[in-house]
Structures are given as C-alpha cells and as structure tokens.
C-alpha cells in the first residue's frame, strides 16, 4: 500500500491515519452490535460498514488520480448541483431511523444518501475557488459578505431540514477557510459575536458585561473597522439579544429540551436527559482501562442510545476507558493537524489546495468536537456522526472522497 501511495506521491501519513480510524470504526460498530438481545440489523451493521469501506477505498483510489483542474473546474458546478439536491431534499426528502422526522435523505433506487454531505464538500470547493484568487487578506465586513453567502445558502437549506449538527459543520468550514485566507482573528470574533451574544442573553447581567467587552474591543480596533461596520456589529448583537426570547419560544419542544438538559441533564433523567446521562455513565464506568472490547454492560444491556451511530464514542469510552478515548482523540488530532501541516507546506501557487485542506479541517473539527463532546455532555446533543467511526455508508464514502481530494490537491502543483 505504502509503495502505491508513494508512486502517487500522496500524503502517506494522512491516509494511514484515516485507514486506522476507519478500521477502528468497523470494529467499534461490530462491538456495538454485541448486545444482550441481538438485533439482526445492528448485529450485522459492521459487515455493511466494511463493504462501504471497501467501496470508499475504490472511490479513493480513483478520485485521488483525478487531475487538479478537473476538481477546480467541478467546484462551481458541483456547488450548484448540491444546492439543487438540497432543495429537492426539502421537497421529497425522507427521515431515517431515529431521525425519522427530519427530511435529510434522498433515495436513488436501493441507495439513499444525505445531500448535505455532498454539499459540504461542494461548498468547500466553491469557497476555495472564490477565495483562492485573492492576493490580500479579508479586512472588513464587506470583504466577508460574498464568502459568507456561499456558505449561508447551503447552511440555511440544511437548517430547514432541520439538521442543526450538519449546519454547524458549515460554520466550521467558513471560519477555517476565512482564517486560512488571512482574515484577522479579531474580525472573525466580531462576526461570531452576535451568535455568542444570543446564547449569553439568557442572563441579563452576563450579557451586559459581554456587550461592554464587545464595544470596548471595537473602540480598541477603531482604526481597523469603519464606524459603519462597528455600529453594525453592535446592532447585530442587540438584535440577536432581542430576538432570543421569541426565537426560544419558536423552537420545537424537543429542541428546547435538548438545550435545557444540556445545562442540567437531571431535569429530565428519563426523557431528554436520558441519552447524555446514560452515555456519561457508560464512558465514566469505563474508568482508566475500560471494560474490555465488546464487554461494556451499558452497551450490552441497551442503555446506550444510538450506540453504533451518534454515540459510538460512548462504546469506545466504556470498553477502552480513558486510554481508549485519549488515543482516539489523539488520532483525530493527528489527522486534523496533518491537514494543516499539508496546507502549510504548499507552494505559493497552491492557494486553492490550502483552502480546500482547511475547509476539510474545519468540517471534521466540528464533527469531532460536537460528536465526542455530546457524549460527555459538553456540547448539546445534535445528530452528527463521528467521521470514519460512526456507522453510515454514504457518510464514510463522502469522507473518503474528501480524503482523496485533500491528498490530490495537495500533491499536484499547477
């Protein structure tokens, strides 16, 4: 294998890291199916995952040979196609399994997939195409309007499904790529501030302190931002604080419950708080060394929710303990930093490649943080899978497509 990669001159370390994660994922899905009362569907999930893994490797070996210009050329068309698919999903999409109420799947005969997964990749390519020609960084809010729109359109369509978790991934893509396009961190902070303010507005005192900090920051940065833009940031903050009440009331009950139990799972230990409580108990009872592969009682006895998909990491925690969770997190850390490292070693003509790598970095970072974080309750529960580990064929396939594109764009110098 390594020799093959070398012949392609691809980034061996990244691919090996992801191969390891994928194999780890298949074995964890196998373990998740080992329960007290076997269920044919979950028991054989690992076989299907392994088949998809094989398919993903085929896709990888093909796509990793596609010339860079094809990829560049495909950026905008694929973006347009994925927007169309997202619209189509809103019209004829279907729910799946536990997310039965959400319209996020499209069926193509026997196959079905989530267009949002395609849209993430397409958006990365399109945004990279948009930002690559820039010779200077983005220094004003006006500079950010176009890139923000490119991401906002698919994001809104995904939100309408509604699939909050994936929508957050788009935010990760936007911020990571803007950062790589030399947008100052303080500007990104100001852009993010209204959203932060939205969450802080639950407490008037906290929000008041926060808005004083924002205004103070703007005064310090007065020579960097126009007065108009500064006022816009402050107004946006006031606007989100004002709508926070009505927005809260307009949320569906299950969405409100998810946020409430995130703050304190014990308010509804058998309802909305059940998943996170059971997940934490499973991970915690893994202790330092874990209960052993396939042996976790919480998992075996069905206490773990969604144990082969969204909560697969709780199985890792229960069966391999802190040793297992730390190694898994470090493995993801390796893959993520490897993407950054590849981007930082590119030539000056490879702006597109760097942006694509950082876009993938941003997307995966959000997936890892939100998925792993929700299993221990540091992030509210959103249905978002763990790349390469969670059960899900098309997601695994699209993730490997992303890997193929990453290694390809990094390899070829135009």
């Amino acid at each position: 294998m390594i020799r093959v990669f070398e012949r392609w001159s691809l980034d061996t370390q990244l691919v090996l890291g992801i191969l390891a994660l994928s194999l780890f994922g298949v074995s964890m899905i196998y373990s998740a199916g080992q329960v007290h009362v076997p269920n044919a569907v979950t028991q054989e999930a690992w076989v299907r995952q392994a088949l998809w893994f094989g398919l993903a490797l085929v896709a990888f070996s093909v796509l990793s040979r596609v010339p860079l210009r094809w990829i560049e050329g495909a950026a905008y068309p694929s973006y347009a196609v994925s927007l169309a698919l997202l619209l189509l999903t809103l019209a004829i999409g279907e729910g799946r399994g536990t997310a039965a109420g959400v319209r996020s799947w499209l069926s193509l005969g026997p196959l079905s997939f989530q267009p949002a997964e395609v849209a993430k990749l397409a958006t990365i390519l399109a945004l990279a195409q948009l930002l690559a020609p820039r010779e200077s960084g983005l220094h004003s809010l006006r500079d950010l309007v176009k890139p923000a729109l490119v991401v906002a359109v698919p994001l809104m369509l995904v939100m309408l499904q509604p699939d909050l978790g994936t929508a957050v991934a788009f935010v990760g893509i936007l911020f990571a790529m803007l950062y790589w396009a030399a947008t100052p961190v303080w500007l990104l902070g100001l852009v993010a501030s209204p959203v932060l303010g939205l969450f802080l507005s639950y407490d008037t005192t906290v929000w008041s302190v926060y808005i004083l900090l924002v205004v103070g920051g703007l005064i310090l940065l007065r020579f960097r931002l126009s007065l108009f833009e500064s006022v816009a940031v402050v107004l946006a903050n006031f606007a989100t604080a004002t709508i926070s009440g009505p927005l809260w009331n307009s949320l569906a009950e299950y969405q409100r419950n998810r946020i409430l139990v995130f703050l304190d799972p014990e308010v509804d230990p058998r309802g909305a708080g059940y998943q996170v409580i059971q997940s934490r108990v499973a991970i915690g009872s893994g202790g330092f060394g874990g209960q052993g592969f396939t042996a976790g009682p919480q998992k075996r006895l069905d206490f773990l929710p969604e144990q082969h998909t969204d909560f697969i990491f709780a199985v890792v925690g229960e069966e391999f303990g802190f040793v297992g969770t730390a190694l898994a997190v470090l493995a993801f850390g390796f893959v993520l930093t490897r993407l950054v490292r590849m981007a930082s070693h590119l030539g000056e003509t490879q702006a597109f490649a760097g942006l694509v790598l950082l876009g993938i970095f941003g997307a995966w970072m959000v997936h890892v943080f939100v998925n792993v974080g929700m299993t221990i309750g540091v992030v509210p529960i959103t249905g978002i899978p763990l790349p390469f580990v969670s059960y899900g064929g098309t997601f695994l396939l699209m993730s490997w497509v992303a890997v193929a594109i990453a290694v390809r764009v990094a390899h070829e110098r135009p």
């Binding site: 007290h36 009362v37 820039r134 010779e135 200077s136 960084g137 990571a176 950062y179 790589w180 396009a181 030399a182 961190v185 058998r270 309802g271 059971q278 934490r280 108990v281 499973a282 991970i283 915690g284 009872s285 893994g286 202790g287 330092f288 009682p297 919480q298 075996r300 006895l301 069905d302 206490f303 925690g317 303990g321 802190f322 969770t325 730390a326 997190v329 470090l330 993801f332 850390g333 993520l336 930093t337 950054v340 490292r341 981007a343 930082s344 070693h345 590119l346 000056e348 702006a351 760097g354 950082l358 970095f361 970072m365 890892v368 943080f369 792993v372 974080g373 221990i376 540091v378």
Partner: protein, 646 residues
C-alpha cells in the same frame, strides 16, 4: 504583504494547531474527569442502572389434613411485574399489554397509582395464565420495564368442598397494609396474603419470609440474569400447617349434601374437640380467588341468592329448637332440680296450663308421664316446660351463658358469629323494649327450655354442646388446626348416670319407633341424636318450611361416641327425614375408614330398603324392630341390651 509566503502559512498553521490542541485538549480533560476522577462513581451508577433488588416470594406453608393429605399447596405460577418509569410511557405499555391479557382500565390506574406511591416495581398480575404469559413473552420488546417470573401459585385440593375452611389468598390491599395485623416490618405491597379462612387465621405462620434477589436488567426491563456482586437472600418458606380436618370426610359431606339445599354440617372429634369436617352449602371454589377473581365471577358469587360466600357453619344463626332441650336438661341435672328417673308431676296431655295461658306440646295427642330419657325421646314440650320452671329463668340464663350460648366457640377462624341468648333478665328490656319494663316473667323459662325464645345458635356451637354430651359434660373448644389452643372450654358438672340418661334419651330418637330411626340405623355403628325443627322468619308466616336440625353422635356399639355431627338444612322441614341421614352417613363414612371397613354409598337402613331387601344386619342389630314383620303395626322404642354408652 504576501499572504501565501511560507512564513505566513506557518504562522497561520501554528494558530490552527493551537486551536486544535485547545479543542481536543478540552475534550481530553473532560474524559479524564469523567473516567478517571469520577470513574468509580459512574461504575456504581452503571450498576444501579441495571441491577435491581427484587423480593423473591416465599412459598407458602402447605396445609395438611389429619392424615397428612394436602389441602392447600403451591404449584408453579407466573407473575407479571412492571418497573417504574415515566407515567405516560408506563401507561402506554400497560395499555398495550391489555391487548394480550386480562387487564382492566381500573387495574391499570391502580398499578400507576402504586408505582407513584412506592416508586418501585409493582405486580401487574400475580397469577398469570400460561397463554397470557406466552403472548407477552412473544412480544417482549413491546413491553419495556415488564418482566415475568415464576411465583408459587396457591392450589386448594378440595375446591368448593372446603372453600369456607381453607379460605383463599390474594394480593395485600392498602387497607391491610395499614392495619396492625400486617406489620410494616414483614409486609409490603404486592405480597400475597391470606384473606379469609385458615389462610387468614394462620397467615403469620404460613407466610414465611420473602427472599431478596439482585437481578440484572437491560434498558427495556428484560431480565439478564442474577447479579453476583451483592449478597442474595433465599426466601424462608412458610411453616406447614396440620389440621384436625379429615379431607376425605369433608369431601364426602360435600358429596352427600343435597345439591338443591342450603345448610351446614359440622363434625367434631369428641376426644379433643378437633374439627373433622366443617361444611357450608352452597360453597365456593377458593381457587377462583387465587391471583384475583374475575369481576364477572365475583359479581355472580356475591349476587347469588343462595349466598355461597356465607359460611353457615360458623356464621349462620338459627333457632336451635328441640336440639337445645338437651342443654336445658343438662343444666337441670347439673343444678340437681331433676333426676333422670323422676317423672314430671304434670302428665303431657298435648298442652299444659301455666300463668294465664295454655302452653301446647308439639304433639297434640300428648305423651303422658315421661322421665327424662322418654321426654327427650318424645321431644315432649310439656315435660320441658316443667323442667324450665324448676330451673328458673335466672338460673337458666346464668348457666346457659356459662356454657357460652351468648358467645363464640373460639374456633380458630377469623370470623365466627356470637350466639344470641339473653345474658341476664335485663337483656329482654334492652332488646325488646318497654313491653318488658317489669322484667321477663318466668314464662320465658318455658320458652327457652324447649329451644324457643330469643335463642339463635350456629351449627358449630350446637356441635360443641353435643361434644359435652358425648364426653363427660366438658367441652373443649372446636379447633381446626392441630395443636391450636386459645379459647377455653367449659364444663357441665354431670354425673356419669346423668350422661347415661341424656344419651339414653338421644338413643330413643334413633331407636326403632323413634322419629329418626330409618335414616340413622347403620350396620356397624350406634347413632344417637336429637332432631330439631327451627322456626325462621319465613316459616312462621307459612312462606317456607322450618329449618331442619339433627345433632347426633356415633361410635361402635357399646363404646363411647367417637364422632359428633350436627347438620342443619335450611327450610328442610323435618330433622328426622332430611338432617338425620346426613349425620348418620357422615358418621358412618368416618367410622368405617377409622376401623378399616370398606365404604359403601348405601349406608342407612332407609337407603338399604329403598334399593333392596331388608339387610340381615338389621335384624341382628335391632331384633326388637317390628319393621317388615307381618302384623306389626308399630315399632316400640326399646333399646335394652344395646349398651349404655359412656
């Protein structure tokens, strides 16, 4: 500034590394805290998640009869239990279960209430039929929090032949839990306890002590297995109970009792007062109550006009009528106001005059001069009027109360009626009002002496009294369980010749020519006894027949009686015709088995001559009987040479 200069790229890469390190490092801190610092706590939580401590029902003590035959025991049964959870989810589960088992909306509400009140598992159905168990097991996944386990089910071997004695068990009610009879330290919701009869009387003995089991469950409430991490405790089975009751005799009484009739049969062992049979007709099958009785069956039982749930033997109060004459006679002998051979000065002419009115004898033809035995044989009212006058009302009340005619026998059953009898002269005014403001007249003694007046007794009480006549005048309390003691007996101070005289009188009733001869004459045993015709609220208005009594005793010829039997047939009219044969057949069955003589369904002389020729034993046993002899018109009461009895 060239934003793509390698230095710029490296600088931004460092920023991205830092962001990655902070994010993932934050996660690692979180995992370290939950897994390493709080690991032990979470392990405990995981254990309490899946391990529950459940009571293991103790097998109830077996109830045996006097020969060690099983009267009540346990067979494997199934119990359906549900674990607590969100009320609406549990309700939905129960409603789904109701499609596959008998589960009324009321029961569902009660289960939900109990779940909320106690916050622990609740028994949905303590005795589930196997087909329901199978239906539930098949759809286990649809019933989260529901588990099915084996639990001993009570079985009553005699069914409706002994329902009133054994009683039955059922789930403890909230009311019972609150009562002192079921102390909190031993009882909790969901337990099966005795409700009535022996089951209730000896509840604390039979119950045993539930064990404790630590069971591992999965998230849907399915049992995974026993959890080894904590000490389990085996249930302590209840204590077995041995009764004086004779199971075969009880069944026999049930068989011979006329199906269309209501009434009671009591058989006591005169040796110790042990209850050999205690039967009330119609009966009910206590097995119907095990695991909760169906609403329809319950409605039918409680609405039945014949009152099958009513234990006539210990609760029914009936005017004892002539059977009580022996009590009056016993009291008179004890007081010494009559002697056995003495005839009353006033001959019976069909009536006698006392006070300002005429007091009639049941036989308008009259009985002439009678001594005590003859008066009993003839049931002569006029003799007993004079006996009553000699005893005097005050003495009669005092002594009758000492014998306990206004009390319970103290039998070991949770419920027993108290006899109705005036306990002192003031009783009349207190109960009958101002008509008695000057106190009862001596005329009341006449009424009481023949078993009339304000006197109502249970069949059991009359049986206890006849035990005294079969012995030496003393009567131990009737006891169902062996070695049961508590109530004290009482004593009539009678000389052996007094007993002889009274038994002689009883013998005349069943001797050739006596009113109960044909229905009581047996091949192997002497039966003696007294008939009674008890008035009741319907019969005094000519709306129904009188109640028929026969109180008797039997034993091998020449020996002391070995069994005392009292039968009461509601609206049976004739003690001799209806009640006496039941007594004779009951005694015959018991004694034949006792002396290893094969049992025959054709027992009494009357049964023999209705099915065939006069049996040879009859001529041998009753050589003086004129029955069947040419020219014989009447059978003379002659008992000479028959043995005097004890």
């Amino acid at each position: 500034m060239n934003i793509r200069h390698p230095h710029q790229l490296r600088r931004r890469a460092v920023g991205a590394y830092v962001a990655t390190a902070l994010t993932l490092g934050g996660l690692l801190v979180g995992f370290f805290r939950i897994q390493v610092l709080l690991g032990e706590e979470h392990r405990l939580k995981a254990a309490s998640n899946r391990v529950r401590t459940l009571p293991v029902p103790a097998p109830r003590g077996t109830v045996y009869d006097r020969e060690g035959r099983i009267l009540a025991d346990n067979v494997p049964g199934y119990q359906v239990t549900i674990l607590p959870g969100p009320t609406e989810e549990v309700r939905a589960t129960l409603e789904r279960m109701a499609e596959h088992m008998e589960l009324s909306p009321e029961r569902i509400e009660r289960v939900l209430e109990t779940l909320q009140a106690y916050g622990r598992e609740v028994v949905v159905e303590s005795d589930t039929p196997f087909d329901e168990v199978a239906a539930l097991e098949e759809r286990r996944a649809d019933f989260p929090g529901v588990y099915i386990e084996m639990r001993p089910r009570r079985r009553y071997a005699l069914g409706d032949a002994a329902g009133h004695i054994t009683g039955y068990v059922g789930e403890i009610t909230g009311e019972e839990l609150g009562s002192e009879a079921f102390p909190d330290s031993l009882y909790e919701a969901g337990m099966i306890v005795g409700k009535i009869g022996i089951e209730r009387q000896y509840e604390s003995l039979l119950q045993g002590r539930p064990g404790i089991r630590h069971v591992e469950f999965d998230a849907r409430g399915r049992i995974v297995g026993d959890f080894g991490g904590a000490e389990a405790r085996a249930p302590e089975p209840g204590t077995d109970l041995h009764l004086n009751l004779d199971l075969e005799l009880q069944r026999w009484v049930h068989e011979i009792f006329p199906d269309s009739m209501s009434g009671a049969v009591v058989a006591l062992d005169p040796a110790d007062g042990g209850v050999l049979a205690l039967y009330s007709a119609p009966g009910y099958d206590p097995n119907l109550f095990v695991g909760g009785i169906d609403d329809e069956v319950w409605a039918a039982l409680s609405a039945d006009e014949r009152k099958p749930l009513y234990d006539r033997a210990v609760l029914g109060l009936y005017a004892p009528a002539s059977t009580w004459k022996l009590a009056a006679a016993g009291i008179a002998l004890d007081l010494g106001v009559v002697t056995p051979d003495e005839e009353m000065p006033e001959p019976c002419t069909g009536s006698m005059f006392y006070g300002n009115r005429s007091w009639g004898c049941w036989d308008r033809e009259g009985h002439g001069y009678n001594n005590l035995a003859e008066a009993i044989g003839n049931s002569c009212d006029v003799y007993f009027y004079q006996l009553g006058l000699r005893v005097g009302l005050s003495n009669l009340l005092t002594r009758a109360n000492e014998i306990g005619f206004s009390q319970q026998c103290g039998v070991d059953l949770p419920q027993e009626s108290q006899g109705v009898f005036p306990d002192r002269p003031e009783w009349y005014r207190e109960n009958f009002g101002e008509a008695y403001r000057y106190g009862p007249t001596e005329g009341e003694a006449l009424n009481l002496a023949i078993g009339q007046g304000p006197n109502s007794q249970t069949p059991l009480k009359m049986a206890q009294f006849y035990v005294a006549l079969a012995r030496d005048g003393s009567a131990p309390p009737p006891t169902i369980a062996r070695a049961a003691s508590g109530a004290s007996g009482w004593e009539l101070h009678l000389e052996p010749e007094h007993i002889d005289a009274l038994q002689h009188g009883l013998r005349m009733v069943t001797a050739p020519g006596g009113t109960a001869h044909f229905g009581t004459a047996l091949e192997f045993w002497d039966v003696i006894g007294k008939t009674g015709t008890g008035q009741n609220p319907l019969s005094v208005r000519n709306l129904a027949e009188d109640h028929a009594w026969f109180a008797g005793m039997a034993g091998p010829p020449g020996e002391r009686p070995e069994i005392v039997v009292v039968s009461l047939i509601e609206y049976g009219r004739s003690g001799g015709q209806v009640a006496a044969p039941i007594v004779a057949k009951t005694a015959d069955f018991y004694l034949r088995r006792k002396y290893n003589i094969p049992v025959d369904t054709v027992q009494t002389f009357r049964e023999h001559i209705m099915t065939g020729p006069i049996p040879r034993w009859y001529r041998e046993r009753f050589p003086d009987s004129d029955f069947g002899r040419t020219g014989a018109e009447e059978a003379a009461p002659n008992v000479s040479g028959r043995g005097g009895g004890g």
